[in-house]
Subunit: 523 residues, 2 copies
């Protein structure tokens, strides 16, 4: 298998920059070389997607579902190859990758089921009224969500399957009826190519139009930028760093025709440990937090990075001792990429040298798991300490009293999650803190840990900026489909012109809001 | 009554710029003077709104509904004064303003009913599963839409009631649980003040928190810009020109913490007249189009500004003659503001002098209703002719054949509406045109006219840029509430911490998605 740049189902390689993946565990480059896409390949992928959009938007929910189920099957059929290659490219352990593959296939099937069932389109019918005195005739109005058009997807480095080529952004965009162009993450091009092959094979097998999916490689950022600027692209899905996400947001906002960018840009996921819970179960909490913060070498968007803890008391002292011991003896980690490892080590060194920051524990080099501690006053004076340090580091913030915890919470930027460890008494005493955290995060967790994001109907993997670009969206769970659709209203349209979802008899049997009442009956 | 700058319930005037409204019919300034808000008043309004947000987000749907119903009543109680003052400030005729008042009050009641019924929050519950082999315990996940926080609203000049202080943006933002700060349109400060008094009185009467609503005056654009840049503001609703809307979009996107702007920026609302329909009912079409294009002196966002017509044939000739006669004899119009009148007259002169543009008919000066004509080739070469000319002007575009009509449609920018006048045969022959128009507009009208936007569940008053800033939103109808809310997920939260919408027993009796099934039952 030679290196290539693959776009669409028809396009071969041009002469872009060659690059190889890197094996972070062994410290060597991995064959074969891949070729960055060129500007003209971006043009071709966009033209293919635009042409496919007209056909694919007309595909039924059943057809989209069949395509997504075929993607899941084809992905599973390549399971061993995917897990092996992803293991090389990311140093993530095999059981984790097997789990992620299962999650990715199930995610595709969940969106298949959503498309097949069909009620997600929010179909609404207001029947016409004849003219009355003072009032003209009211027309027949029917509306439902329709596809936006071609979507550009940027995969994340830390989930080479579930948030990458065949991940949630792709699954939800395809389920909504949009062609997808993925810009492969340069850290796992081989995994990306295998996943793209599965999708392309599924597209062919299920009769989806040519151009419904394309993959573009790039070792740099130019191809992604060209994609976001391209007039054919109607929306962007992204998971990655705040700097990269904001760059895409700014590019999209500066277009002649601005488009929405749904960027999930990470979070420190604050954890508030309240006094009674600490006294009751400090040791279990230390074990739980350690496990959550070091899971996947601390490379989850939902890693708990900031832990607020009472400043005094024996319970706090033994919790801290327990946590420090666990951190100290954490086995060495391997991070996803050289860039992440360098940024992490630099971040740990900076924190260790920061005035007012105490290094409580550190495991063996080169990638040390690290526990730092500050007072909430120091944190207040140094908001930079609230920024995400991607990797297995944890910052304890000691608060003097609950009012100080509330003030610290008020200063927090937007988060994917916020967690409370609290007894019922703690929660009732800190109602203000609870209410405030609800305004700061997409998901509020009580006596649990933020890592482990269920793919379900009720999940929200989103939150106020800078956690994401748009707090009204989630990138995980069935609500993610709403990012890539818009309502279209048909006024007095004859039956044969309407989408199936809006026809009198309700042939799909979906839930519809008819004259203000939800029903699955026909008219 | 002396002039003032009114914000919140508590703040008086500071020493901003004084300005007066202008009576466009009589050409005189109207007393009293109003005072532009100062930067420190923006600060105070924002601080009040932020403080109110915490309390108001906790208000029940019933409480929000009562507040909105009180707004409607208080507005109606001031009906005579509102209509009289709005008539002076806008030159809109009394029957139109009476109708707009009725629409505005009904719109407030529709959002009241939405808040009271409560199902709009899209409540979802995924119950926990115990741990199984290979799978950890699944937590209990519950989510629903929650308020975004303070919303800034910019009223439109052309609907001094329905799209202004107490209009759809305000109604939907308040219904969702957000405080609102309105920047009054400088063309109707007196109407704005009366509407604001109604809202403030309703807020006091229904126990809504101080700061839930504020009104700021400004004769210029600085106060609006300061509002959009203010960190307390979480979203913006706007109706007005493309230039002003885009300016706010750019300001919001450049914030340290970008916020969504929902700007409705107008449209030319293309109408495609297909051959058979033209032959069957050309005269009725000419009458209908004339009525729609000159309604309210052509100052509707949904005014049909661009009419595509077969280039040859006797039906086209008599349609054009009929329409030209009607345009010629249209009574003189008065436009909303001096600025609009100047821009309109300039636009008419520019068009009349434009190479390839034929002036077919023009009514008496100074504000002439005007009918222009171009070939679709000329339009293709001069995209500027596709821009909205706000006022009673109409541009006929003659197409050679249906393929040429399709190509012209492909070049159109995003629109609020697109209209087809067509027989069933026309529609079936032009399936490609119909499918294409669906991608260009928020509302597709068959054999009707785009003016007259129902306030209902199924309506969409939105569309791709530049019609609006975000095609996924509507500014009219109950779906407008989704602009101002975001999903929040509660993981393993005890019952007493959950919003009523997510509690086991479903005390509000709302529709909820429980383990993937819609139900109104409790758990």
């Amino acid at each position: 298998m030679t290196g290539r740049s693959r776009i669409g189902q028809t396009l071969g390689a041009e002469s872009g920059t060659r690059f190889r993946a890197w094996d972070p565990a062994r410290g060597v480059a991995i064959e074969p070389a891949f070729v960055s896409a060129t500007d003209s390949e971006v043009e071709r992928a966009a033209a293919l997607a635009e042409a496919a959009a007209a056909e694919y938007r007309a595909a039924s929910g059943a057809a989209r579902g069949a395509f997504l189920r075929a993607c899941a099957e084809r992905l599973e059929a390549r399971g061993d190859a995917l897990v092996a290659r992803a293991g090389q490219e990311t140093a993530l352990p095999e059981p984790r990758l097997r789990g992620e593959l299962r999650r990715t296939a199930n995610q595709l099937r969940l969106f298949a089921a959503l498309a097949e069932e069909g009620s997600w389109v929010d179909a609404r019918i207001d029947r016409s009224h004849p003219a009355q005195e003072n009032q003209p005739r009211r027309p027949d109005l029917r509306s439902c969500l329709r596809p936006l058009g071609p979507v550009a997807v940027f995969g994340a480095s830390n989930f080479p399957l579930a948030f990458s080529v065949a991940g949630g952004d792709t699954a939800s965009a395809l389920a909504a009826g949009n062609p997808v162009i993925v810009k492969a993450h340069p850290a796992h091009p081989g995994t990306s190519e295998l996943a793209a092959e599965a999708i392309l094979e599924a597209a062919r097998a299920s009769g989806a139009p040519d151009g419904v999916f394309s993959l573009l490689f790039d070792s740099g950022v130019e191809i992604g930028a060209a994609l976001v600027r391209h007039p054919a692209i109607r929306a962007v899905g992204f998971t990655g760093s705040l700097a990269a996400g904001r760059r895409l947001m700014d590019l999209a906002a500066a277009r002649a025709e601005p488009i929405p960018v749904f960027a999930e840009m990470g979070s420190v996921n604050p954890v508030f440990v309240l006094p009674e819970a600490l006294a009751e179960r400090g040791a279990a909490l230390a074990a739980g937090l350690h496990a959550s913060a070091t899971l996947g070498a601390g490379q989850f968007c939902t890693k708990p990075g900031l832990v607020f803890l009472p400043g005094a008391g024996t319970a706090a002292t033994s919790f801290t001792r327990e946590l420090a011991q666990r951190i100290q003896t954490t086995p060495p980690a391997t991070l996803l990429t050289r860039g992440i490892a360098e940024a992490y080590c630099r971040g740990v060194d900076e924190r260790a040298g920061h005035a007012g920051v105490e290094l409580l524990a550190k495991s063996a080099a080169p990638i040390s798991t690290a526990l730092f501690q500050v007072s909430s006053a120091t944190l207040a004076a140094n908001p930079k300490l609230e920024e995400e340090l991607f990797g297995p580091a944890l910052l304890l913030v000691r608060y003097g009293d609950e009012r100080e915890a509330l003030e610290a919470a008020r200063r927090l930027p937007g988060q994917l999650t916020a967690t409370l460890h609290a007894t019922e008494t703690d929660l009732r005493r800190n109602a203000g803190l609870v209410a405030l955290l609800e305004t700061k995060a997409g998901r509020l967790i009580v006596n649990g840990y933020p890592t482990g994001v269920e793919v379900s109907h009720a999940i929200v993997h989103g939150g106020p900026y800078p956690a994401t670009s748009d707090s009204r969206a989630t990138s995980v769970g069935t609500r993610a489909i709403f990012r890539f659709a818009r309502p279209v209203c048909y006024q007095d349209a004859p039956e044969f012109l309407l989408p199936q979802e809006l026809r009198d008899a309700n042939p799909l049997g979906i839930w519809r809001l008819v004259d203000g009442e939800w029903t699955r009956a026909g008219l």
